[in-house]
């Protein structure tokens, strides 16, 4: 008889693993064995809880106690106090119960429903929470057209960024002529700061396999490919285990659940090129070619992988499929806004207190995500902007905190939903510099096939570099706008078509910052080092010589107990003197 009375779930997401959560698990197991409690208490590694800022996280059931920042040394007190004596260890608590924690209060977890609840390496755990029930119902009671009808009716849009209706994509692939078709799961998550796809694959890999099989049934495919980057070793490992288990259980393979439907899934490792997130480049890469896009049409739904009709969907899109089948199209379309249905997962990063992964209904106020869930800006600084959509998106200024988070509202600001990265910036971030950073990324990642993207973006980057060094002119701003518009219109694929967005959106919302760099030769945020000027305030200087002795150039002259001076031509703007001065006599402008 099973006498397990307590489950301790230790986060096994990449964020927590890098904070020693594996060691925490081992220490807990050791303590439990030492007390002879191994038949009473079970320790399980689970998927990401999303609250990465406070990791490693340990959740205890059935009491529903949520411990944060647990170290291996805490295992002794957790077992001695909580497990044996039933006393909650207050110093490791974040809040009384998880439902009281503001970080979780406003969330609605559909795609992340099983992350942090099940053991991703045990198919039984997944089956116990209605896993493979959706596939079972589809195969025994629905026609492919009915499945497509439900997904269309739900209003689910592609979560990789574009928001293209998933049901329509399936329908087009189903209608395309061909005896061989493919389903591809795009797990080439490339936006800096976004990690929802990784977390879903690490925490709930079976949900993706089940959804891919449902997609296969709907479009008439018998083969699926997960294209995932090699930089996600844990996700790859767990996905491979899940595939092996599903095959052993007959939930992937021939004649699934006694039906005529057969479906297999293979993994293709990507080398981490950003352009391979673009579907035609991705397919080229799977076929062994260079990761380069091609002109569309023909769309993959007609001519896809190996020239066969192919439906490509993003990881998070697939994660929504099974709940839609089980709960119905109306349930899903009842969540969100008129045009954007369901929920969206966002990766909160940058200068925000609660860095992590959150899932909220579409239509939530941007300010609620940043302040209620994200806990506001770090260090009490003022909020300046939030960057959404990664290198393809743009910056939304503080004046627009009231906008609703959905595909349409975000596009109106000049940004986009993208894969859901949200990088928060404060008063110390220079918007020109940020635009330059993203452009640097796309210049690096451009495959070079088409001229506007290969050369145009490089020219834009040169202009931005010039501006941040104080060599810009007002004509440069006009040129940036012209170039940006041309690149957007003429580029071959999504990478080039969206690459100018960070520049165009900051030009639109933060024109005065560009002007300050050009006209006043000044960086208002103090981030562009070459525009900085350090001077010594004569009235304050006590002649202690500390600055002169710390200067690596050296470029500070002056005798003991006399006012010092910085020789501007030699200064490398390293800021060491500014930090060292004991009487704040050095001014930075």
């Amino acid at each position: 008889m099973n006498r397990i009375r307590m489950h301790m779930l230790v986060c096994g997401g990449t964020g927590c693993v890098s904070c020693d959560s594996t060691e925490v698990k081992d220490a807990l197991v050791r303590e439990i064995m030492e007390h002879g409690l191994e038949n009473e208490v079970q320790v399980t590694i689970t998927g990401c809880f999303g609250f990465c800022e406070k990791g490693p996280i340990v959740k205890v059931y059935p009491d529903n106690v949520f411990y944060v920042r647990v170290s291996p040394d805490d295992a002794k007190i957790l077992v001695g106090e909580h497990v044996i004596k039933g006393r909650v260890v207050e110093k490791l608590l974040y809040g009384d119960t998880p439902s009281d924690i503001p970080f979780y209060k406003k969330q609605m977890r559909i795609a992340l429903r099983n992350c942090g609840l099940i053991d991703p390496e045990k198919i039984e755990d997944y089956i116990s929470v209605d896993g493979y029930e959706a596939l079972g119902r589809v195969l025994t009671g629905m026609t492919p057209q009915q499945v497509i009808g439900v997904i269309k009716g739900s209003g689910l849009g592609g979560r990789g960024g574009g928001g293209f209706p998933t049901g329509l994509k399936w329908e087009l692939t189903a209608k395309a002529a061909g005896d061989k078709k493919y389903v591809i799961c795009n797990a080439d998550e490339g936006d800096p700061g976004a990690f929802m796809d990784r977390s879903i694959l690490e925490g709930d890999p079976h949900s993706i396999l089940e959804a891919m099989a449902i997609a296969g049934y709907a479009v008439g495919a018998d083969e699926g490919v997960v294209y995932i980057r090699a930089e996600y070793p844990l996700a790859v490992e767990r996905l491979q285990k899940a595939i092996n288990q599903a095959e052993a259980f007959g939930l992937l393979g021939d004649h699934i659940l006694g039906s005529d439907f057969s479906f297999r899934v293979g993994i293709n490792l990507g080398a981490g090129a950003f352009v391979c997130g673009e579907e035609t480049s991705l397919m080229n890469s799977v076929q062994g070619g260079r990761g380069e896009p091609r002109i569309k049409p023909p769309f993959p739904s007609e001519t896809g992988l190996w020239s066969k009709p192919t439906s490509i969907n993003n990881v998070e899109t697939f994660a929504n499929i099974c709940p839609i089948i089980l709960n119905g199209a109306e349930w899903f379309s009842g969540i969100g806004t008129e045009k954007s249905k369901g929920t969206k997962v966002f990766a909160l990063a940058g200068k925000i207190n609660n860095v992590g992964l959150v899932e909220v209904p579409m239509g939530m106020r941007l300010g609620d995500i940043i302040y209620s869930i994200g806990g506001g800006v770090r260090g009490g600084k003022s909020f300046k902007a939030v960057q959404t959509g990664g290198p393809s998106g743009g910056c939304i200024p503080a004046s627009m905190l009231d906008i609703s988070i959905d595909y349409e509202s975000l596009s109106e600001t000049g940004s986009m939903m993208g894969s859901g990265g949200m990088i928060v910036m404060d008063e110390d971030d220079c918007m020109v510099n940020i635009a330059k950073f993203y452009l640097e990324f796309t210049v690096d990642e451009s495959c070079g096939k088409c001229t506007p993207c290969r050369i145009g973006n490089r020219r834009m980057h040169e202009i931005l570099s010039r501006i941040t060094k104080g060599g810009g002119t007002l004509d440069d701003l006009e040129q940036l706008k012209d170039l940006g518009e041309i690149i957007k219109i003429c580029s071959l694929c999504g990478l080039g078509q969206t690459a100018p967005n960070p520049v165009l959106s900051t030009l639109h919302h933060f024109y005065d910052e560009y002007e300050a760099h050009i006209v006043d030769k000044r960086c208002p945020a103090g981030a562009c080092t070459e525009l900085l000027r350090y001077t010594i305030i004569a009235e304050k200087c006590i002649g202690c010589t500390l600055c002169a002795r710390s200067c690596p150039v050296p470029c500070i002259s002056g005798e003991r107990k006399k006012v010092h001076d910085i020789i501007q031509e030699k200064c490398i703007k390293c800021g060491i003197c500014y930090k060292k001065c004991p009487v704040d006599a050095i001014e930075r402008k």
Binding site: N2, I4, N64, L117, G250
Partner: protein, 131 residues
């Protein structure tokens, strides 16, 4: 892992029922509407046999296939003379304290109180004044 393949939806559902034992505690914990049975597990409680009581409670819950019933260990309530102590909290109702609980009484608590909704009067620690 069982090597046998699942061939029908019914077989999948049977495996699901079996697998639920593995995740039940977590789902119970997530449920806002659960019966909580606390067992005093401080030194006094453990010395008086609380661990066996807890085992009997868990066995009985599993045998009766009860969902939404959580057994949790709790600290010393101060009534060391009456250990092992068991407190049954049904949502929206006053907690009921049972004193000097043994394995037999533990089973009765599940069968009569939790399933039947009947408080076992003569085993209560205090009938009034405790909330």
């Amino acid at each position: 892992m069982s090597g046998t393949k699942i061939k029908t939806l019914d077989e999948l559902r049977k495996i699901r029922e079996r697998s639920k034992a593995g995740t039940k505690l977590r789902l119970t914990g997530e449920s806002g509407n659960r019966v909580t049975i606390s067992v005093g597990m401080a030194t006094c409680g453990i010395a008086a046999g609380a661990r066996a009581v807890m085992g009997a409670l868990i066995d009985s819950i599993n045998e009766n296939n009860l969902e939404n019933v959580a057994v949790v260990a709790t600290g010393c309530l101060g009534y060391c003379y009456a250990e092992p102590l068991v407190v049954v909290t049904v949502p929206e109702e006053k907690p009921v304290h049972y004193a000097n609980v043994d394995e037999d009484l533990a089973r009765k608590i599940i069968e009569l109180h939790v399933i039947g909704g009947e408080i076992i009067g003569n085993s209560q620690l205090i009938t009034d004044g405790l909330t």
